[in-house]
Each structure stands twice: as structure tokens, then as C-alpha cells.
């Protein structure tokens, strides 16, 4: 009953506030700040942050439903919410000291500061250990230099998690994560990327030029970077799976309605078996995707290892989103290829869910690793 109410509430919000503008902010690549202001008091920026820091402390299924329902209407804002919550704020919840949580979380929970997760660089992405951004300790402070690319929420972020390479005491290469606030001298935002989909999200490059930070901005212990990244991405994958599911659901709903309305040969096209076959496949795979996602959420809430399950959910939900949005365009025919219909946007938005927060090739590696470790 709780999850149903969460779904109804978020759906009503998304359809009312984002529905009328989703196509326009995609076309003009506008980040809807006024909608963000309406989202803030509803705890959308503190979904899983503990109460003591101003969050709603939702269970993971509720969290997935929120992301799914926002993405069903506007995937770019679903992306903003999931990245902020799951890879922006969650690492601080999970790995931050009490002082770091008190310092950084309240402003993130209220949405005053939007979070970003900055791992990707020109030569590092799937190979997370290859980051070239440097963090060197000088006179008791960390000095960070480097460039991050394809940063979701980059243009509007207030708090960014920066992955940087360092050297351990025994001269081994290591990775560290720093919490960097936008006011830090030397921190700047680059041009906004002109992307295929998710265009309302200000995905940008970030530049760090001699950013000097004390130890209190280092997350975890020196050298914990990769571990933090991997654990964070397990949670992030739940969010991306939920986002892909929302897009797939929107495309299916549109295709079903269109198939019932569109007449050819004096009949609705839904009466033709080939279209029915598409609809049956779409509905079945969306249902399977949803169950896979909620299983990963349930594992997480029950404290069970969920890395493999989250990767399966991300792999499957995003693959289904790609397939379903493609079929939705197909069912719409020429109209589906036109910007006049929303399925064209869903089709563009879906593709990146197969790429970010771990490409689907990386997901297969994670799943295989989880499977093989069970055999040991």
C-alpha cells in the first residue's frame, strides 16, 4: 500500500509539473529550475538520506519507484534525481565520517546543492583505475588537478565527488575520492554537452585547477577510491535500471494507445497479429525487468549482497528500454520518427541507459564475477 501511494504521488507530480514541459526542455536543452524548486520540499533530493540529515530515508523499492515515475514522464529529470541521490549523496552516507555527513548532507538532502559523480575522463571510464586527475599532498593539503567529462548534473552541481589518482606511502598507484564544493577556488564548469538524449540535463565537463582541500574532504581512507566507486555504482545501477524501466513503460503506454487509435485497412492496427506480437513482447519484458529491479532493491533493503542482482537489473532494464522504445517507434511508423510524438524522445533517451553507470558490457563482467565467486 505504501509503494502504491508513493507511485500515485510521484506520478501525479510528474504528470502535472513535468508532463507539459518535457518535450520543450528536451528540444531547447533547458534544466527546469522551477520544477526543481517544487521537488525540493517533497524530499526528492533526500530520498535515501537519513532523517537526521533532513532526508526521507525511503526503502529501496520506494526509491526505485520515484525514479521510475519521474523518468516515465521526463527521463532527463529522472537522471538528475537518481545521480544526485545514488551516486552523489549515497557515498557520503555510506563512507562519510560523522563530521562529513553533518557538513555535506543537509544541503544535499534539501536540494540546495545538487550532487555529481565525477569518475569519467577522456581516457578513463570503464577502466576506473586509469583516471589521470591527480591529487598530491602538499603542506598538509590535497592539491587536485584534472578534467572530468560527461558529468551528469555538471552544470548545476553544488557538491561533486571527484575521483583522483594518488600515490600511497609505499609508492603504489591508488585512487581517492574527494568531496568538492563548487565554490572551491580552481573548480570550474565547462561547456554543456550537446547530446542525443537526456538533453534537459546539463551534462558538462568539470575542470580542477590547483583545487586545495583539507583531509576533511577526503572520503574514506587514502586509497579507498576504487572500493567506494564500485560499491556506489551497485546502488547507482538500481537507479539507472529504474530510469530505463520508466522510459520503457512510457514508450509502451504510448505504443499501446497509438495501436488502438491508428486505423489502417479500416481497422485499428492493434487488431493485426504482428502488432499484437510486439505489444505482448514489450509488456512481458517490462514486467520481467520490473521484477528483476525490485528483487535487487529487496536484497539491498534486507542487507544481502546485491551487486550481481543490481547489475542484472541494470543490464536487463536498459536492454528492454532500448528494445521497447525501438518497437514503440516502429508501431508509430513515420510519426514515431517525428519530434511531434514523444516516442522519438524516449527512443533517444533510452540509448544512454545501456552506456552510463557501467556499460552493459561491464555489467556482464560484474554478473559473471558474482556468478563465478559463488562457485568457489
Amino acid at each position: 500500500m505504501k509503494h502504491k501511494l508513493v507511485r500515485k504521488t510521484v506520478r501525479s507530480f510528474a504528470e502535472t509539473e513535468l508532463g507539459p514541459i518535457a518535450a520543450e526542455i528536451d528540444r531547447d536543452a533547458i534544466f527546469p529550475r522551477d520544477v526543481v524548486e517544487k521537488m525540493r520540499p517533497l524530499n526528492f533530493f533526500g530520498l535515501q538520506i537519513p532523517r537526521e540529515y533532513g532526508g526521507a530515508q525511503l526503502d529501496s523499492i520506494s526509491y526505485a519507484i520515484v525514479v521510475e515515475e519521474i523518468s516515465r514522464v521526463c527521463a532527463a529529470m529522472g537522471l538528475c534525481i537518481t545521480v544526485h541521490n545514488s551516486v552523489g549523496a549515497y557515498p557520503i552516507v555510506k563512507f562519510g565520517t560523522a563530521a562529513q555527513k553533518r557538513r555535506f548532507l543537509p544541503a544535499m538532502a534539501s536540494g540546495e546543492r545538487i550532487g555529481a559523480f565525477c569518475l569519467t575522463e577522456a581516457n578513463a571510464g570503464s577502466d576506473a583505475g586509469a583516471v589521470e586527475t591527480q591529487a598530491v599532498k602538499e603542506n598538509g593539503k590535497w592539491v587536485i588537478n584534472g578534467t572530468k567529462i560527461f558529468v551528469t548534473n555538471g552544470g548545476v552541481c553544488g557538491t561533486a565527488l571527484i575521483f583522483a589518482a594518488g600515490v600511497t606511502k609505499d609508492s603504489k598507484k591508488s585512487t581517492n575520492v574527494f568531496v568538492v564544493e563548487k565554490e572551491t577556488p580552481g573548480f570550474s564548469v565547462g561547456e554543456r554537452e550537446d547530446l542525443c538524449g537526456m538533453r534537459a540535463n546539463p551534462v558538462s565537463s568539470l575542470f580542477l585547477e590547483n583545487c586545495r582541500l583539507p583531509d576533511s574532504h577526503l572520503l574514506g581512507q587514502p586509497g579507498d577510491g576504487l572500493k567506494i566507486g564500485l560499491v556506489t555504482l551497485d546502488t547507482g545501477r538500481i537507479g539507472i535500471a529504474a530510469q530505463a524501466l520508466g522510459i520503457a513503460q512510457a514508450a509502451y503506454d504510448a505504443a499501446l494507445n497509438y495501436a488502438k487509435e491508428r486505423q489502417q485497412f479500416q481497422k485499428p492496427i492493434a487488431s493485426f497479429q504482428m502488432v499484437q506480437s510486439y505489444l505482448a513482447e514489450m509488456a512481458t519484458e517490462i514486467d520481467a525487468a520490473r521484477l528483476l529491479l525490485y528483487r535487487a532493491c529487496a536484497y539491498k533493503d534486507n542487507g544481502r549482497p546485491f551487486s550481481g542482482e543490481a547489475a542484472m537489473a541494470k543490464l536487463f532494464c536498459s536492454t528492454v528500454a532500448g528494445k521497447v522504445t525501438g518497437l514503440a517507434v516502429q508501431i508509430h511508423g513515420g510519426y514515431g520518427y517525428s519530434k511531434e510524438y514523444d516516442v522519438e524522445r524516449y527512443f533517444r533517451d533510452a540509448k544512454v541507459t545501456e552506456i552510463y553507470e557501467g556499460t552493459n558490457e561491464i555489467q556482464r563482467m560484474v554478473i559473471a564475477r558474482a556468478q563465478l565467486s559463488q562457485l568457489k
Binding site: M1, K2, K4, L5, V6, S12, F44, L47, A56, S62
Partner: protein, 288 residues
């Protein structure tokens, strides 16, 4: 101050299968939601809320109606009462308002104000609020758009036949709230979490209210629905011919009633004018 808000769970879709045997809606086929007008009543109560205010939300319905009570608590209500009993099923507005009145008397003693939505989206009778005021024997006003409370004096405003009406009454009282004001707020996520994890819903049965079998459900409901149908709307082009004066006359003859009911006041037509002229000339004669 003690406020009681009566709310109802209604089906989420407007077109539902109709059960021709029982002449009721097949409600189980639809997702439920809080009746839109009830949201405005709840919002009015929430806007009155101060430190010493207690808001009780009350609903009569199937066990699933618990959801809208939890939603109301998530929005800021303090406690939820669920009247649920198979014996209460099938109640018309008369039986519903009587049962609600019994529950309010028993579980919300010393209430100051009862707030109801002005109508429901599934049956649109707008009767329960005014009937409940009668049952509770308190002053009641329907379709209010503003309210204020000064000690035990309630002042409300409403639009009535294109007039703005301001009314005062002593508490306790009952109002039904128009959907033109008190726009409902969204539920926040922490509120939902608390409403499910920290709040209890108190359940009330027909026995708790001392209702005998004759006094419940369909047995005690004098309303009988004979038939339900969808009104058909029709668009028709009508061509009026002749001189402009004749066209205007024809137009007013045909549509005078419809225009009057749409704009809420009488049109001054040819008949009125000639009547006025007669009156004027009559007056002139008497002067002469």
C-alpha cells in the same frame, strides 16, 4: 481546536463497468484515490492547523480505503478513523451521513468544525455534507471558498448565484469546501514513510456504532438507482436566415434559456423591453 475532515476513496478512472444486477459501480476493478474535492477540504483544514489543532480524518469504505487515510496523515492530519464493515456497504448518501454522524459523535466528541469535500467524483451528489450537518444538528454551509475562525465564531465566504456571500455562525459547524480555492499540496516522501511506519489507523465497525442490520447498508438506503447512462453530447450547426433583427430574435427565442443558465442571470430580451416600455408609458399616463 478539533477539526474532522470526512474523505472518500473513489475510483481513479471515470469510466467503469457497471453492475446491472446491483446497480452499482464495479469499484474493485479500479485503483482507488482520494476524491479530488476531499483534497481541498483537507487542505482547508491543514491551513487552519496551529499547535493546538487536532485534525482527524474519517472515511467509510472498504479496507483498502486505509490508503487515503494514510495519505491524509502524510499530508499533516493527526489521526485516521476507518469505518469499514461489509454491513455498511451499499449505503446511499442518507445512510452514509447517518453513519458518519454516529462515528463523529462517538469518536470525535467536542469537535469544533467538520470539513467535507463539496462532492465526489464518482457519484457527484454533493449531498453527504449538508445531510451530515443535519444529522449532527450543527449549522452547515456548502461550497465555501474562504473561512476564518475567531474564538467560537466561524466566518465563511462563498459564491452563490454570482453573488459573494459572507456568513457567520457559531462553532461547532460543518462546511463543504469548493474546489475553486484551497489547492491541495503534494505529499512529501518523508510524510508517506511516517504515515505507514508510525501512525495507527483506528477501525470502526457497524457494531461499534450500535447500528442494527435494518440501519445499515442497502436496507437503510432509501435511494434506488433506476438507470445510469452516459449523456450524449451533440454538435449541430444551425443556420439562421433573414434580416439582422429577425436573426437576433430567432436566436434569443431559441437559446434564451440556455444562455441564462450558462451566465447565471436573466437576459433582457425583446419581451422584457416591451414590458418595460408598457410600464413606462403606463407610468407616464398616470402622471398626465
Amino acid at each position: 481546536m478539533k477539526l474532522v475532515v470526512c474523505i472518500k476513496q473513489v475510483p481513479m478512472v471515470s469510466e467503469l463497468p457497471w453492475d446491472s444486477k446491483t446497480r452499482t459501480l464495479k469499484r474493485h476493478l479500479a485503483e482507488g484515490m482520494m476524491n479530488p474535492a476531499c483534497r481541498h477540504a483537507l487542505e482547508a483544514a491543514l491551513q487552519l492547523k496551529r499547535n493546538d489543532t487536532e485534525i482527524t480524518v474519517l472515511t467509510m469504505g472498504p479496507p483498502m480505503a486505509e490508503e487515503i487515510l494514510r495519505e491524509a496523515i502524510a499530508l499533516g492530519a493527526d489521526r485516521g478513523l476507518l469505518m469499514t464493515d461489509p454491513r455498511l456497504a451499499g449505503a446511499d448518501t442518507f445512510a452514509t451521513s447517518r453513519a458518519l454522524a454516529l462515528a463523529i459523535r462517538k469518536y470525535c466528541q467536542d469537535f469544533d468544525l467538520v470539513l467535507c469535500g463539496c462532492q465526489t467524483s464518482d457519484s457527484e451528489t454533493a449531498q453527504v455534507g449538508p445531510q451530515l450537518a443535519e444529522e449532527l444538528d450543527v449549522p452547515g454551509v456548502a461550497y465555501i471558498e474562504a473561512l476564518s475562525i475567531d474564538r467560537s465564531l466561524l466566518t465563511v465566504r462563498r459564491v452563490c448565484d454570482n453573488f459573494l456571500e459572507e456568513l457567520e455562525m457559531d462553532l461547532p459547524a460543518l462546511v463543504t469546501v469548493s474546489t475553486r480555492q484551497f489547492y491541495p499540496r503534494y505529499v512529501h516522501m518523508a510524510g508517506i514513510e511516517d504515515a505507514f511506519n508510525r501512525a495507527d489507523i483506528f477501525k470502526i465497525t457497524a457494531d461499534d456504532l450500535g447500528l442494527s442490520p435494518e440501519q445499515t447498508g442497502i436496507n437503510s438506503s432509501p435511494t434506488r438507482i433506476l438507470t445510469v447512462f452516459s449523456p450524449t453530447a451533440e454538435k449541430k450547426n444551425i443556420l439562421l436566415k433573414g434580416t439582422p433583427k429577425k436573426i437576433v430574435d430567432q436566436f434569443l427565442d431559441a437559446f434564451d434559456d440556455k444562455i441564462t443558465s450558462a451566465i447565471g442571470k436573466d437576459l433582457i430580451t425583446r419581451d422584457h423591453l416591451s414590458a418595460l416600455k408598457d410600464a413606462e408609458s403606463g407610468a407616464g399616463n398616470s402622471e398626465g
